[in-house]
Structure formats: structure tokens, C-alpha cells
């Protein structure tokens, strides 16, 4: 054997290193791809990338096995003549033919009724482009995964503090002393979170995890606080109560930077009831978003005064009367009233967390925030002109994700979290929560959906954004009767603030023709026939269901995927995409970039390998389709094609002619001398490549904090067109926006009115202050018959459904089991490893149970999306994933029948339409002795499709470049 010390890796064959951006998940780390003889030899983290700083995760390091997956699609496919959907029977066609079929169909739809195209995308990282395409096409029926993913987190926080966790902000663990992580398993910030968390722990920080399950991050927590799923709202309200009652809040912060001291109209007879009192004599500047005309009760003069006027100090507590006799209260007082009865004892009964623990947690948070203040010697000026010598931080940081979001009561729980963080004074401050550009945004952000059916016209772009942020009922996208215009019923009275759409209802609605039938369902990067649908068995039937005349209820389905997923089988037309190593891509500020706390960052992918077979980047497909359909953004005035290809598009596209704003913010201007705004730069790609595929603008230190109210930052952001307004973004402790919807429901507000059957629902759930209610599904479920909460978690070494094709990753999670507390087995007479039935009111699955002590005993859980349909993903029909693994989605319903006045609504948060994945209740019973030790349901094995890479053989001894020396 060669001596390992003196021989070099290069002796196995010449190698080269190329850099690009990982897409084994949405974290988007920088990677260096080592190639040997045209094959991938090694993928390492790029040390020069700000996000991952050289590290890489289990998935990222397994990119090689994704590249050489047996599930790769390499040819465009058309459903075989005579074959049924779902059979996976296709014939290969040319791209030309594919474009003709699709182009003609779309042209016809666009010329007749553009909303008959429904374009939905899954874990898509190019929503800026797919959204642009939809808007240009003129269909409102566009959304990505957000609605079934974590829109509660986005909406709950953005409607409260103007920013959010998820990809929009996060905990500053460099400086935090106490870190509370609620309901997070892995999240999008995979590597950075791990880097930060370990530094935090090593520097002696205290880490508390609130989660029904103790795995992953929670494993290394100093304290694990097990909670019953769906009850965090109660916990958070109790924490708020304790902090308010003990005076552990940051008064100065609340008064100056939130609407805590602003006065609320308390006159129940008034049409303005529950709205903030505004002084009509203050003249708003034109184009102003939110004029400074609210009042507070000045403590020094004991009179109402324009809030934040120099020399006055608002009162937080009390009840007052305006000179005109109107009863008013500071918002804070209303919050205090709201949480008065939310005692720790009350919360204990709901959450299962001992009252003493809740109290102690509140005290730890409050005392740490108050007594461990950080003062950075950074001078700054607030939006009202007050100057400060220092930036102060209260070092309590939070992070939360789908454990809060994926419940039907998640929006209010998340509002409560935003309020708790605000009470502690930890918003965009060192050691607390910090925004990432382009956040903070005004509350709510400016983009709006069309206001009615008139926004959708043949051969015209959509009259508004497909997705936006309603600020009051008039922003809803409903017809004259108040009925939805979108296929998923987003922005309707059923789910008014569904800012990311409701992708989880698209198939059901389209199948039922409610609110209308569609023609073409165009899916990109979404496994809707499997793990990203609820009620999967039925949804699969809907995809193949026919009218009496023999035509499919959903007439045409197009699937763009790089791999042979379960959904591909249901397509009429399959467009094979490239892998992330084979294409150009941008992670744009127009979408969800990879910004850091200290300033905007965007990044690109640059191909390191040629596309396999005939696979084609979906970006190119969209540019091609846009050009063929002559969508305005893609053609010149004379209708001729404007962009050669996607890279050309990225460089030259501007949001408006001459706006200087494009997909990439770095190296703009003719020779790359400008950033954020500037003319197109033909060498932009090269400049990104030279800078390790990203652009990072570091804000001056004085602009890095308190950005909601930082004059310097706000002015800079407006100047660089990050925002339209430079006004302070005051925290909505009290949400006037919600109250406006409630007033409409009460018939007290002019303009759009909810249909009668929805009035109560809107009134109930559009509470301007957070409140706790048991998840909607529990109202309908006999919880003693279904005593257990069933949830899923992300495994760190798998991304959704798409890693079972990966020879290395699938060995880590070859199958999944249902993890239960031993008491569940004892109560139901089964032992560790037994095969069990998991039944909900909606369906059942058979799977194997494993005992664990690291779970709240009323909760059962499994790893998400490990179970597969037989034959999918290039796996053999008897692969463990399909025979032993299972999908919990079968027992989760996408709808709650007869929930409001006998009508069915989506199984979602009533405010945001967030899919309530984690509300489902189940019972677990042992499978009969004569039943096979196999998961159920099983599906007919899928055959391979033409052009699929495949892999036969029982052995893979991968050695890149093959020429082993």
C-alpha cells in the first residue's frame, strides 16, 4: 500500500476544485466541490463562506450520492397513451415537444382565464422567479411551501415585530446569556445554528429547550421542559403574566419602541372601538405609511399627548378618559388584563409543565434580561431624533419554529412569543433577537394581493402580487360576495392573513371544483402526492379521479422534478430538472436571502458539472416559457425574446426598466462598483464567483441594531431601496390590524364584510391580543378516544422525502418507527418494538413502535418523510422505507369537516391558513398477531421511468474518478 503520508490524493487522478452553494437543504451553505476525472470526489464546506464558515452537515457531505442517485430523471416524459395517472407509465419526448405541449396549453389558458393555471412550488429557493412568472402570466394561483410550512411563524412575528425567525432573523447567540428554544428540531439555519449553539454553550450560556421531545438540539440543553403539543400559547401567556406582575419587563423599551403605552379606544359603542386613538390634527406627510399621530397618557403632565413627544413619558398602566369623554386604556393595560387569569397554575393544567417551573422560567428570563445588560459603545440615533451613546442589549434570546407554527392556534402563540420578547426588550438588540436584511419590514409589509376578481384578466399580468400582506379587510382578495378568488382560498375571510397561500388545499379544492375547477396544475419541487400533502391516500385518489365523461377532474398535471418522486407518477408531463451541482441559481434579496445579522447577503450557485442527460434547469424552462408566451417581463417591446438564458436574465432583469434593482444585489453598475441598486453588470456572475459565490454588505456598526427605529439604518435602507418607507417600525404589542378585521366581522367597519357564516370565526380569532385556545381539531375530536398527540420531527440527516435515494443517508434512516413513552405501551398492551396501529379520526397507519423516555407521555412522534411508496426514488419495491417505514400524513386531514356552520374548512390556523400538521390526535393499539410485520398502507410498486438513471447490482463501491492507482 502506498504510504499515506508521502503519497498525495492527487495521485489517484488529477483533481480540480470548484465552489458553489449547497442545496441538500434550504440552509444554502457555501461548498467546495472537488472533482476527479469528472466525478465528484469530495464536497467540503467553504471556509470563506459567511454562513457555514467551512463546516458541512450530513446531507451536504452526501451530495455525491445525490448526484449519482438511481432516481435521476434525464428525459422529458409524457404520460403513455392509454396509461392511467399514477401508473408511472411514460414515453420519452423531446424538449421541443414538451415546450410545444405546455406552451400551447398555457397560451390558451392565459388568453381565456389565467387563473386556470395553478403553479405551486415546494421547497423552492427561487420564489422570486416562480412568483414573477405567475404574476406575469396573470394567475393568482401561485404559492410555495410557506403555507403548509411555517407561515404562522412568518405572519405571527412580522405582524408583531416586523421580522421573524425562519430565514428572516434569529437569536444572537454570540452575546446571549440565556437561550430558550421552543419547538425546533433542525430548521433552515442548520449549520449556523449548530455553530452558534456550541459556542454559546461553551461560553457558559444557559440553554433551555421547550419541546415535547428531547432529541437533537434539545439533547444538549441545560434544561428540557417537556410540553404537551399545541399548548405553548398557554405557557407563553403565563410567562407574560408573571413578567408583567413581577415588573420584570423593560419599561423604557416598551414605551419608546412598542405601542404598549399607546392608548386604545375603549368605547364599545364606537366604530373605532379597540383601535388606537389618533390625533386628527397631526398632518400625515404624503406617502407616509403610519403617521406619528397616536396618543399616550403622559405620566408627567397626566394628560394625553402625542406618543413619544419630547419630554413626555407614557403610562403603561391605568384607565383614562379623553377630554371628549372617550374611555381609553394603554395597550399594555389591556395586555395585563388579558393575562390576569393566565396564572402558572392555569398553564400547568394545560401544558403539563409544573407551575413552579413556569414561574422560575419567567424569573430567569426577566432577571437575566434586566441584570445582565450588555452595553456596546455604539452611538446611534432613533427615528424620532433621540441620540444614544450606546446600544443596550438584554441577553435573553429565543428561537422557535414549527413546534409553535404547525398548530391551528400557532398564530396567537407566536404573537405571544413576540410580545414576550418585546417585554424583555430583546428585539434587534445584542444578545436577543436580531433581524436579517431585508427585514425589518413595515407592519405589515407593503406587497398586497389583488383586491378582487378584476385583478385577473386574460393576457394581462396579475393586478397585484400573488402573495402579499393584508393590512385591513379591504386588502382581502375576495369577490363581491366575499368569496375567495384564489384556488386555495388564501386571502379570503376563511384565512384572511394567509400570506403564503394554502398549498395543502390546492389539490382538494381543484378536485372538488371549489371555488372553481382549474385546467393545469403545475408543480415544481413539491412532493404533493406524498409527504407534503395531508390525507395522502385520498389526495392521491383525487389526482386520478375522473368525471363521468372519463376526463380527469384535474385535467392536466405538470411535474418538474429532478428525481423520481411519488408525485412524478401522477404527471401528464414530466420536466426533468438538474441537480444543484449542475445549474445556475440565485438566492436573492427579492426572496429569502442568506443575510447575516450585520447586513444583507445574497448568493449564487454556479454549475460544477454539466446537466445529466437531457435534464434542464427549471430556471431555463421558465425563461423559455415566458419568452414563448410573450410575458412582458421576458420579451422586448416588439415581442422578441429578451434573455438568452437564465444567467443572462439574472444579470439584466430589472424590477422596472431602469430601476437598478435586480435579482442580485452585489457588483451592480456597469463595472460592478455599486451594490443593491445599480445598472446591470455583464460580469456580475464572474464577480460573485470570485467572491465565493456570495455578496455580503456589512452595515456600519451603528446601523446593525435597533433597526426598527434606527434612523441611520432606515434612511440607508430606503436609500438603497430595501424598503419604501423610512418610518419607525413600532412593535405591535397590540394589533390594530387584527382589530380591524374583528370590527368588520362585527359590522362596525365599512368596506369588505365577511359572509355571514364566517363572521363569528373572524370575530373570535382576530383578537388584537393573543389568547390561548385548544387547537381547532381538538374541538371536533373525542380526545378521550384519541388521547395522544402525534407529531413529526425533522431528522438532521435527511431532507424531507428526497434523501432516501441517497445510498449513505438512507442507511442512517432506513425506516422510521413511532416513538412512544413506555406508559403508552403499558396502557395499550404492547411492548417495545411491537407493530401497532396508529389511528386518528381521519385514517390509520400500521407501523412499529419504539419506547423512549425522552418524550412527553401524551405525545407520540416519528421522523418526518422517511416512509416511501414502494418503487419510488429508485429504490427496490421491497426497500425498508416502503415496507417498514411509514408516513404519518395518512392520519392527518387537510380539512376539518363541518367546523363552521356545518361547512368544511381547511385544517389550518384560522388567521393565516397555516397547515395544522401537529394538531392531530391518535390512539395506538397493538396490531393483531396474524398481521404482517409490515407498514400499512402499501401502494402498488412503481416501475422505473424511461431515462431514469437506476441502479442494479447489490454493491456500490464508489471511488471517484475510478482510475484507482
Amino acid at each position: 500500500m502506498k504510504d499515506p503520508v508521502t503519497s498525495r490524493d492527487t495521485e489517484f487522478g488529477p483533481s480540480e476544485v470548484k465552489t458553489t452553494t449547497c442545496y441538500m437543504c434550504a440552509c444554502r451553505c457555501g461548498i467546495r466541490v472537488h472533482l476527479r476525472g469528472g466525478e465528484v470526489r469530495y464536497i467540503e464546506g467553504n471556509p470563506d463562506h459567511p454562513l457555514n464558515q467551512g463546516v458541512i452537515c450530513a446531507k451536504g457531505a452526501s451530495g455525491i450520492m445525490k448526484q449519482y442517485s438511481p432516481a435521476r430523471l434525464t428525459r422529458p416524459l409524457k404520460r403513455k397513451e392509454g396509461a392511467e395517472r399514477g401508473e408511472n407509465a411514460f414515453e420519452p419526448i423531446s424538449w421541443d415537444e414538451a415546450f410545444t405541449i405546455l406552451g400551447d396549453r398555457l397560451a390558451h389558458i392565459r388568453a381565456t382565464d389565467p387563473k386556470k393555471l395553478a403553479l405551486f412550488t415546494g421547497r423552492d429557493q427561487m420564489q422570486a422567479l416562480t412568483g414573477l412568472f405567475a404574476k406575469q402570466f396573470g394567475t393568482p394561483n401561485y404559492a410555495a411551501h410557506g403555507g403548509f410550512c411555517s407561515v404562522n411563524m412568518a405572519a405571527g412575528m412580522i405582524y408583531t415585530i416586523g421580522g421573524s425567525f425562519w430565514e428572516f432573523g434569529g437569536p444572537d447567540l454570540d452575546r446571549a446569556k440565556l437561550f430558550v428554544m421552543i419547538g425546533t428540531a433542525e430548521d433552515h439555519h442548520s449549520n449556523p445554528m449548530k455553530i452558534a449553539l456550541s459556542k454559546f454553550k461553551r461560553s457558559g450560556g444557559r440553554f433551555i429547550a421547550i419541546n415535547p421531545v428531547r432529541t437533537g438540539y434539545a439533547a444538549i440543553a441545560d434544561e428540557w421542559v417537556p410540553i404537551r403539543p399545541g399548548t405553548d400559547g398557554a405557557l407563553l401567556l403565563a410567562l407574560i403574566r408573571e413578567i408583567v406582575e413581577m415588573g420584570l419587563f423593560d419599561r423604557e423599551f416598551l414605551i419608546r419602541f412598542t405601542n404598549a403605552a399607546e392608548l386604545v379606544n375603549m368605547d364599545p359603542a364606537s366604530d373605532e372601538f379597540g383601535l388606537l386613538i389618533r390625533d386628527p390634527s397631526v398632518t400625515a406627510e404624503p406617502g407616509c405609511f403610519d403617521p406619528e399621530n397616536r396618543l399616550w397618557w403622559d405620566r408627567l403632565t397626566d394628560r394625553p399627548t402625542i406618543a413619544r413627544s419630547e419630554g413626555s413619558d407614557g403610562r403603561l398602566i391605568g384607565a383614562f378618559e379623553l377630554p371628549d369623554g372617550t374611555a381609553v386604556k394603554p395597550a399594555f393595560q389591556l395586555l395585563k388584563d388579558r393575562v390576569k387569569d393566565c396564572t402558572p397554575e392555569w398553564a400547568e393544567g394545560i401544558t403539563g409543565i409544573p407551575a413552579a417551573t413556569i414561574r422560575r422560567l419567567a424569573h430567569e428570563m426577566g432577571v437575566t434580561a434586566r441584570d445582565h445588560k450588555i452595553e456596546l459603545p455604539i452611538a446611534w440615533t432613533d427615528a424620532w431624533g433621540r441620540e444614544y451613546d450606546t446600544i443596550v442589549g438584554n441577553p435573553v434570546a429565543f428561537h422557535s419554529m414549527r413546534g409553535l407554527a404547525a398548530h391551528s392556534n400557532g398564530f396567537h402563540a407566536i404573537r405571544a412569543l413576540g410580545i414576550l420578547m418585546s417585554l424583555l426588550g430583546t428585539i434587534d438588540r445584542p444578545g436577543g433577537f436580531r433581524h436579517k436584511a431585508p427585514f425589518p419590514r413595515p407592519i405589515p409589509p407593503c406587497a398586497k394581493p389583488p383586491k378582487g376578481p378584476e385583478g385577473v384578466k386574460p393576457n394581462e399580468p396579475l393586478g397585484g402580487m400573488p402573495l402579499g400582506w393584508p393590512a385591513d379587510p379591504n386588502d382581502l382578495f375576495v369577490d363581491a360576495e366575499g368569496e375567495p378568488v384564489r384556488i386555495d382560498k388564501a386571502f379570503s375571510w376563511e384565512y384572511p392573513l394567509s400570506v403564503h397561500g394554502l398549498m395543502h388545499n390546492v389539490i382538494t379544492n381543484a378536485w372538488r371544483g371549489d371555488p372553481y375547477p382549474i385546467d393545469t396544475l403545475f408543480l415544481f419541487m413539491a412532493n404533493m402526492a406524498w409527504n407534503s400533502s395531508m390525507n395522502t391516500v385520498e389526495v392521491r385518489k383525487m389526482l386520478t379521479d375522473k368525471h363521468e365523461n372519463g376526463e380527469y377532474k384535474i385535467p392536466f398535471i405538470v411535474v418538474t422534478d429532478a428525481f423520481q418522486s411519488e408525485t412524478v407518477a401522477f404527471a401528464d408531463l414530466v420536466l426533468p430538472d438538474t441537480t444543484y451541482l449542475e445549474r445556475h441559481d440565485v438566492m436573492s434579496l427579492l426572496d429569502r436571502p442568506i443575510s447575516e445579522f450585520d447586513g444583507p447577503v445574497d448568493s449564487v450557485r454556479i454549475p460544477v458539472l454539466p446537466p445529466l442527460g437531457e435534464s434542464k434547469p427549471f430556471q431555463e424552462v421558465l425563461i423559455e416559457l415566458g419568452s414563448r408566451l410573450r410575458l412582458p417581463a421576458f420579451v422586448n417591446a416588439d415581442g422578441s425574446r429578451k434573455y438568452r438564458d437564465y444567467p443572462d436574465f439574472i444579470v439584466h432583469f430589472e424590477t422596472e426598466p431602469g430601476s437598478g434593482i435586480g435579482f442580485l444585489s452585489g457588483w451592480r453598475g456597469k463595472s460592478g462598483e455599486k451594490f443593491l441598486v445599480g445598472e446591470p453588470n455583464p460580469s456580475q456572475w464572474e464577480m460573485y464567483a470570485r467572491n465565493h459565490n456570495h455578496f455580503h454588505y456589512e452595515l456600519p456598526r451603528s446601523y446593525q441594531y435597533m433597526r426598527n427605529w434606527n434612523r441611520g439604518y432606515l434612511t440607508w435602507a430606503r436609500h438603497h431601496r430595501l424598503v419604501r418607507f423610512a418610518e419607525p417600525i413600532v412593535i405591535h404589542l397590540y394589533s390594530e390590524v387584527l382589530q380591524k378585521f374583528r370590527l368588520a366581522a362585527e359590522g362596525k367597519r365599512k368596506g369588505k364584510q365577511p359572509p355571514a357564516h364566517l363572521r363569528e370565526r373572524v370575530k373570535d380569532f382576530f383578537d388584537p391580543l393573543p389568547f390561548y385556545f385548544p387547537p381547532l381539531e381538538w374541538h371536533q375530536t373525542n380526545t378521550s378516544a384519541f388521547p395522544l398527540a402525534a407529531i413529526t420531527q425533522r431528522p438532521m440527516a435527511m431532507y424531507h422525502s428526497w434523501d432516501s435515494q441517497n445510498a449513505w443517508l438512507r442507511q442512517i434512516h432506513t425506516h422510521n418507527a413511532l416513538f412512544v413513552h413506555p406508559s403508552v405501551g403499558a396502557a395499550n398492551n404492547f411492548g417495545d418494538g411491537a407493530w401497532v396501529w396508529v389511528e386518528s379520526p381521519w385514517g390509520k397507519v400500521r407501523c412499529q413502535a419504539r419506547f423512549t423516555e425522552a418524550v412527553e407521555p401524551g405525545t407520540v412522534w416519528t421522523w418526518n418523510a422517511v416512509g416511501k411508496a414502494s418503487g419510488a426514488w429508485g429504490l427496490s419495491p421491497d426497500a425498508n422505507e416502503s415496507r417498514h417505514g411509514f408516513l404519518l400524513n395518512h392520519v392527518i386531514s387537510e380539512e376539518l369537516p363541518a367546523l363552521i356552520s356545518g361547512r368544511t374548512v381547511s385544517n389550518s390556523d384560522p388567521v393565516t391558513g397555516q397547515a395544522a400538521w401537529y394538531d392531530v390526535r391518535v390512539r395506538v393499539t397493538p396490531a393483531a398477531a396474524d398481521e404482517p410485520a409490515e407498514s400499512w398502507p402499501q401502494f402498488t410498486p412503481l416501475p422505473q421511468v424511461p431515462g431514469q438513471t437506476g441502479f442494479t447490482g447489490t454493491l456500490r463501491a464508489f471511488f471517484a474518478g475510478k482510475a484507482r492507482g
Binding site: 450530513a58 432529541t215 417537556p226 419599561r251 438532521m796 456500490r956
Partner: protein
């Protein structure tokens, strides 16, 4: 015994069980000096493959006082490795220079005897080449002069997002690894066998907070400004009972 002993120090205090070390090891080594690392049934039922490093999970205690421990394990490069003397061919050897225990595939006859003589279950047999394989401490990376010095580390160490894997010479008291062991109570696995594993583990450490009652009252309590504090105590006082 060698003067230098390279090793990994694994910090269980921050390991979140992400498996980055598992697959980064596999990708580096399968196409390198120690490769390939074959997989059997890669896409069929019951896949099985060669990995030099695996991350296991253990649970301690009962609800609600459960601790979950993620536990990565690869060859520990014992200072007195029982796997070496038993090898009939000399294929298994411990390097004098740096204490790394390696297998020379050209000598190995695949008798598996060495794996029986390792208490830690870290050797893995390659059915294709018919030789025993195991963690090499990435000996083909750490001395590679063509790499920048800060990348001359094992693949798993470079990958680990939590920085839970420290690489260094545990005999050099100034090395990061030796300091980490010394200062954090680093311990070897199953010391009773006298194998003197070079790899060490750092235990969980807990940060607690002590709250004093007076911290909850405080003179600068904002409720005072709001006129709500201090609340007069309820109930009777001495005054109600005494008449001095």
C-alpha cells in the same frame, strides 16, 4: 509507546447528533487512500455499508429527567491497541511517529481477528476488497502539504458544525486536544481494559441559574413608576396586637 499521539477529543457537551462526521468521513475516505468504502444493497432492502464513524444515541433516566446523549465513535487509536499484536500478518500496525493505528490492505488477509480484539466495535470489514478497514485519522489529509495548514485536519473535524471534534496530539500539553481533556474532565472509554484509548470524550456540562428572592423585587422595579409598587402588605400587623 510513541512520544506523539494524535487523537480526537469528542465533546459530548455540544454534540447534537447530526451525523455530519459520519458522512463527511465516508465521502472523504471512500475515494481516497483508505477507500473505497462499499455499500451493499445500496438501494434495496437492508442496506449495509462500511463507515469509519457512527453516531449512536443513548438515553439516561426516566421522564421527565431524561438525558439524551449523542455518541460518535470511531477507532480510538489506543496507545496499547489490542487489535495490533493479534494480527497474524502485521497488516494492523500502530505508527511510531504519531500513534495512528492503521491497516495495510496489501498485507491484510481478511481473517477479522483484529476486530475480535477491539472492545469498541470500530473496525469494519470491506467484503469487496476482503480487508479490514477503520478510521485512519485521515492520515492522508493531515500531512498533506498541498492543503492549507488549517485544512490539514480529519474530514470529520472540518465538517462538524458544532465544533464537537477536536483533533490534536494529546501528548503535547499545549495542544488544543490536551487542554480540552485536562480542563473539561476528558475521559477514555472502558479504561478497565488498559487499552489506553487516545481518543477522549468530554462530558456534558450544565449551566444553572440561581435566583435570589430580592432580585424579583428590586427598588427600580418599573411597576413603581407606574404607581403600582410597593403593594401594601395585606392582613394584620404587630400594631393590631401590641400596645406599647
Amino acid at each position: 509507546m510513541s512520544k506523539k499521539q494524535l487523537a480526537l477529543v469528542i465533546d459530548l457537551n455540544v454534540c447534537v447528533g447530526c451525523h455530519a462526521c459520519v458522512t463527511s468521513c465516508k465521502e472523504w475516505n471512500t475515494s481516497g487512500w483508505a477507500g473505497p468504502m462499499p455499500d451493499q444493497n445500496p438501494y434495496d432492502a437492508d442496506p449495509s455499508g462500511v463507515f469509519f464513524n457512527r453516531v449512536q444515541t443513548f438515553e439516561c433516566g426516566t421522564f421527565p429527567n431524561t438525558e439524551t446523549i449523542h455518541f460518535p465513535k470511531s477507532c480510538l487509536h489506543c496507545e496499547d491497541p489490542p487489535c495490533v499484536p493479534v494480527c497474524p500478518t502485521g497488516a494492523s500496525y500502530k505508527r511510531e511517529e504519531d500513534g495512528i493505528v492503521l491497516v495495510d490492505y496489501d498485507k491484510c488477509i481478511g481473517c477479522k481477528y483484529c476486530s475480535w480484539s477491539c472492545p469498541y466495535g470500530v473496525r469494519e470489514f470491506d467484503e469487496v476488497q476482503g480487508v479490514m478497514k477503520k478510521c485512519t485519522l485521515c492520515v492522508d489529509r493531515i500531512y498533506d502539504q498541498t492543503l492549507p495548514p488549517e485544512r490539514r485536519k480529519p474530514a470529520c473535524v472540518l465538517a462538524c458544525p458544532a465544533g464537537a471534534r477536536i483533533f490534536g496530539d494529546i501528548k503535547d500539553p499545549d495542544s488544543e486536544a490536551a487542554i480540552a481533556i485536562r480542563e473539561n474532565g476528558g475521559y477514555p472509554l472502558m479504561p478497565e481494559w488498559g487499552t489506553q484509548p487516545a481518543n477522549h470524550y468530554l462530558p456534558r456540562r450544565k449551566t444553572k441559574m440561581t435566583l435570589h428572592e430580592d432580585e424579583l423585587i428590586r427598588a427600580d422595579n418599573p411597576l413603581k413608576i407606574e404607581g403600582e409598587l410597593p403593594k401594601p402588605p395585606d392582613g394584620s400587623s404587630l400594631d393590631d396586637y401590641s400596645s406599647w
